[in-house]
C-alpha cells in the first residue's frame, strides 16, 4: 500500500519485556521478548484476546508504562530516539504531537463542558504548532474532509449535542490535529454498533491513508483489523504468536491459535434446528409498550417463545432490546401490554410476582464482572438459588454446585475462588450456572457475548446450545452481533427505535430477497473476513462500483 519498504522504521521495539509487580511482591510478566517494526505509513494490526498484552504494548509506543509495571529489558526506539531513555518532559512533548493515542470511548475522551473544536485545537496550540485561529481553520478543514455534517459549525457544539458515531469521528480529527507520525488505535470501534463502526473505520482509514501516518491498530476482532492493516501481529499471553502480511494471516494462518482465531470468525452458520412448534408458549408478550417519561422506548412489541426454542432480538443500542428484557423480568413496568408465562399472566413488577414465577425466568447479564458479587465465593453464589428456591440443605447444595460447575465445563476447584480470580469467560459461565441452578423455563441472555473475546464467545454460545438441548429451556437472546444471532437463533426479531420492524425464522429474515431495508443495513455492516469488504461497502453506499480489486477476496 502506501508505505515504503526502503525507509527506516519510525518505531522499532527490540526485545521488550514488561513486568508487573503486585502488592505482595509477586511478579507477573506482561510482555515477553517483543520485537516489532513499524515503517512510516504502515498500519500494523495487533490482535489477541484480553490479557494478551496488546494494550500494554500499544502504550509503550507512547513511552508509557502503567503504574505498578516496569521494563525488565529491551528498548523502544521512536525515530531513532530511545523513548524510555528520554526524560518525562521530553516524552510528554512527543505525546499527542508526534505520537497520538486514540482511546476506545469518545464520550470518556472528550471534556463534556467544552465545545468540541476547542478540544481539537488544544494539541496543535499547546505544542506551539500554530495559533488558535490557524488551528481552528485546520480543524474545520479536517471536519470537512471526514464528512461531518455542517463542518463550519460542527465544532461549536458540545460533545453531548452530537451523535455517538460523530463524536467518535471527531475524536479521530482530534487525534490527527497534531499531524502525528504514529497513531495508536486502542480498540477504536469495540464499543460501537456495527452501523457506526463502518463510519468510524472508514474515517480512520481515510485519515491514515491521506496523511501517511503509521498506526498500531489494537483490536480483538480480526475482521475489523483486516480492513485497515498491512501487517497483522497475533499476540497471546504476552508473546508474539505470529506476524505476517494481513492476507497471509487471514488465508494461511500458521500457528494453531491463529487458526482457531480465524476459524471462529469464519465458521459456517449452524443450521437452525427448526422451531419446535407448541401451543403452549413459554413466553408470550403482547403489544408491550414502555415509556421513560414522555419518551416511548418500546412501542407495541409482540413476541412469543416456545419451549426449547431460541428467539434472537437484534438491533443497535437504543433500539429498546434491553428495555424489553427489563420489562419481562419485572424491573421496569410497561405502560401497556401483557406478559404471559406458560399462559399465565405475570404481574408487571417483580415485587408482585411469586417466588416460583421469579424462579422460572432467569437472566444472564452482559458484563459478568458486575453480575457477580465480588465478595462471595463461587460456591456461595451458586448455592444461594438452590437453598432459596428449593430449600436445599448446605451439604446437598455443595454437591449440586459441583454438578453445576461440571455442566458449564468449569473445573470444580473454582468453587472456592472469588469471581475476581476467574477470567471473563469463566465468570460468564458462572452466571449461566447460577441461572441454571434455578431450573428456569426461560433464560434471558442480554448481550452475554459482547464483553468476551471471539474464541471465548464462540465457546459460550456452544455451551448455551448444549444446555438448551439437554434441558429444553426457551432462550431469549438479545444481541447486536449478527454472527451470534445466526449461530444460536431459531427465530429472530429485528428492532429499531423501539419497534419490531422485522421478524420470522432466521433464514427467512436474513437471507430472503425481500428483506426489510433496516435488516439489510444491519447485515451489510457486519465486517467480513476479507480485506476489501469495507471498500466494497463504502463504494456501494456511495453508489459507485468498487474501486478496490486488489484486496484478497475471500468467499465465506
Amino acid at each position: 500500500m502506501s508505505f515504503r519498504f526502503s525507509e527506516p522504521s519510525i518505531l522499532r521495539i527490540e526485545q521488550l519485556s514488561i513486568v508487573a509487580r503486585r502488592d505482595c511482591g509477586e511478579e507477573v510478566t506482561l510482555l515477553d521478548d517483543i520485537n516489532l517494526e513499524l515503517r512510516p505509513g504502515e498500519v500494523l494490526g495487533l490482535i489477541g484476546e484480553s490479557g494478551a498484552g496488546k494494550s500494554t504494548l500499544g502504550l509503550t509506543a507512547l513511552g508509557y508504562v502503567r503504574p505498578g509495571c516496569h521494563i525488565a529489558g529491551g528498548h523502544v526506539f521512536f525515530d531513532g530516539m530511545d523513548l524510555f531513555a528520554l526524560s518525562l518532559e521530553q516524552r510528554q512533548k512527543l505525546r499527542g504531537r508526534r505520537i497520538a493515542y486514540y482511546a476506545q470511548s469518545a464520550t470518556a475522551a472528550f471534556n463534556p463542558s467544552r465545545p468540541i473544536i476547542d478540544q481539537v485545537c488544544d494539541v496543535p496550540v499547546r505544542h506551539g504548532l500554530c495559533s488558535r485561529q490557524e488551528a481552528r481553520r485546520r480543524a474545520i478543514a479536517l471536519f470537512r474532509s471526514i464528512d461531518l455534517p455542517s463542518p463550519n459549525t460542527f465544532g461549536d457544539r458540545y460533545p453531548h449535542e452530537v451523535s455517538g458515531g460523530q463524536l467518535q469521528r471527531a475524536m479521530a480529527a482530534m487525534t490527527m490535529a497534531g499531524e502525528p507520525d504514529i497513531l495508536v488505535l486502542d480498540e477504536p470501534t469495540t464499543a460501537l454498533d456495527v452501523t457506526t463502526q463502518v463510519e468510524v473505520l472508514e474515517t480512520l482509514r481515510q485519515l491514515i491513508r491521506e496523511r501517511g501516518t503509521a498506526a498500531l491498530h489494537i483490536t480483538h476482532d480480526l475482521s475489523v483489523v483486516a480492513q485497515t492493516a498491512d501487517r497483522i501481529m497475533v499476540m497471546r499471553k504476552g508473546r508474539v504468536e505470529e506476524t505476517g502480511a494481513a492476507e497471509k494471516i487471514l488465508l494461511a494462518p500458521q500457528t494453531p491459535y491463529t487458526r482457531e482465531l480465524v476459524s471462529v470468525q469464519m465458521r459456517p452458520h449452524m443450521t437452525p434446528t427448526g422451531p419446535p412448534r407448541a401451543d403452549n408458549m413459554t413466553l408470550a408478550v403482547n403489544d408491550l409498550s414502555v415509556n421513560y417519561g414522555h419518551m416511548r422506548v418500546l412501542d407495541d412489541v409482540s413476541l412469543s417463545i416456545a419451549p426449547g426454542e431460541t428467539l434472537v432480538v437484534v438491533g443497535e443500542s437504543g433500539s429498546g432490546k434491553s428495555t424489553l428484557a427489563k420489562s419481562i423480568v419485572g424491573q421496569l413496568a410497561p405502560t401497556a401490554g401483557s406478559i404471559r408465562l406458560c399462559n399465565e399472566p405475570l404481574a408487571h413488577f417483580a415485587l408482585r410476582r411469586s417466588r416460583d414465577e421469579l424462579r422460572r425466568i432467569q437472566m444472564v447479564h452482559q458484563i459478568p464482572d458486575t453480575a457477580l458479587n465480588p465478595q462471595q465465593k463461587i460456591r456461595d453464589i451458586l448455592a444461594r438459588p438452590l437453598s432459596f428456591y428449593f430449600g436445599t440443605t448446605h451439604q446437598q447444595a455443595c454437591l449440586q454446585v459441583m454438578q453445576l460447575l461440571e455442566r458449564v465445563h468449569l473445573p470444580t476447584d473454582c468453587a472456592d475462588r472469588l469471581p475476581t480470580q476467574l477470567s471473563g469467560g469463566q465468570k460468564q459461565r458462572v452466571c449461566i450456572a447460577r441461572a441454571l441452578a434455578a431450573q428456569p423455563d426461560l433464560l434471558i441472555c442480554d448481550e452475554v457475548t459482547a464483553a468476551l473475546d471471539p474464541i471465548v464467545a464462540a465457546h459460550t454460545l456452544e455451551l448455551l446450545r448444549e444446555v438448551q438441548r439437554e434441558t429444553g429451556i426457551a432462550i431469549l437472546f438479545i444481541t447486536h452481533d449478527i454472527d451470534a444471532a445466526r449461530r444460536l437463533g431459531d427465530r429472530v426479531v429485528v428492532m429499531q427505535k423501539g419497534k419490531a420492524v422485522d421478524s420470522g425464522p432466521i433464514a427467512e429474515v436474513f437471507d430472503s430477497n425481500t428483506r426489510h431495508p433496516y435488516t439489510s443495513k444491519l447485515l451489510e455492516s457486519v465486517p467480513q473476513m476479507r480485506s476489501d469488504w469495507l471498500d466494497t461497502l463504502i463504494a456501494k453506499r456511495r453508489g459507485q462500483p468498487s474501486s478496490s480489486v486488489d484486496g484478497a477476496a475471500l468467499e465465506l
Binding site: 505482595c24 447479564h365 453480575a371 458479587n373 428456591y389
Partner: protein
Amino acid sequence: MIIANQYVPTRALAGMGITIFIILAVAFGPLFMSHGPNEIVGDTWDAPSLFYPLGLDNLGRDMLARLLDGGRATIGLALAITAISFLIGVSSGIAAAVAGGWLDAVLSRSVDLLMSLPQLVLALIILTALGTSIPVLIGTIAILESTRVFRITRSVATGVAALDFVQVARLRGEGLWWIIRREVLVNSLPPIIAEFGLRFCFAFQFIAALSFLGLGIRPPNADWGSMVRDNAQAITYGVMAPLIPAIAIALLTIGVNLIADWLISRNSPAVGEEQ
C-alpha cells in the same frame, strides 16, 4: 511482612505499632504513676524534669499522668461514639439506598434537618435537657455524627445497589435484609472504613468542645482535647505544654488512618504516578 498468610505492608505495620502502643500505654500506664492526674505537684508550666518527663500543666499538674488518664476517657468515648454512629449511619444509609422510595425520603430529609442545625447548639440543647451523664453524651454525639456517616454511606451504597448482582438478588426475590447485608454492605466498605478513621479523630474535637462548655468530661478530669485548650496560652510563652496532647491526638490519628488505608487498599488495584 507476612502475618497469618496475609501480606502486610510496612506502613500498616507502623500504624498498628503506634495504635497498639498508645492503647497499651493508656491502659496500663496510670498503674505505674506515683501521683494522681488531678494532683497539683508544682508550679504552672514547670519545665520537664526527670520526675515529670513531660512537664506540668497550667495548674501545675503532671502532664504525663493527665495524658495517660485522659487518654482512657478520650479513646474510650471516641471509640464508643464512632462505633455507635457508624452502626446507625451505615445501616440506615444502606437501607435508604437499597429500599429507596418513602424510606429513603423520610431518612434523607430527617438527616438534612439535623445537619441544617449547628451541631454544637443541638448537642447543648439535648445535653441540657437530658443531663450530662456519659451514656447521654455518647448517645447524643453518636446520633449527630451518624448524619455524616449516613450521607456518605447512602451515596456509596446507591452506586453498589445499581450493579447487576444486586439486581440479580432482587429478581431472585431476596428480602431487604439479605440484600443489605450480603450484597451491598460488603461491597461498600472501603470508603466507609476510610470515613471511620477520620470520624474517630473528629470525635476528640467534639468532646473537647463540649468539655469547654462544661458538658463533656467535667474538670478537673482530663481529656486530650481539653488539655490542648487549657494549655493553649502557653504557646505565647514558648512552652510546649499544649503540643504534648496535640501530638498524642496526631499520633493516634496517623496510626488509625494508616491501618484504614491498608484495609482499603487490600481490595483495590494499584494507583500511582508515572515516573
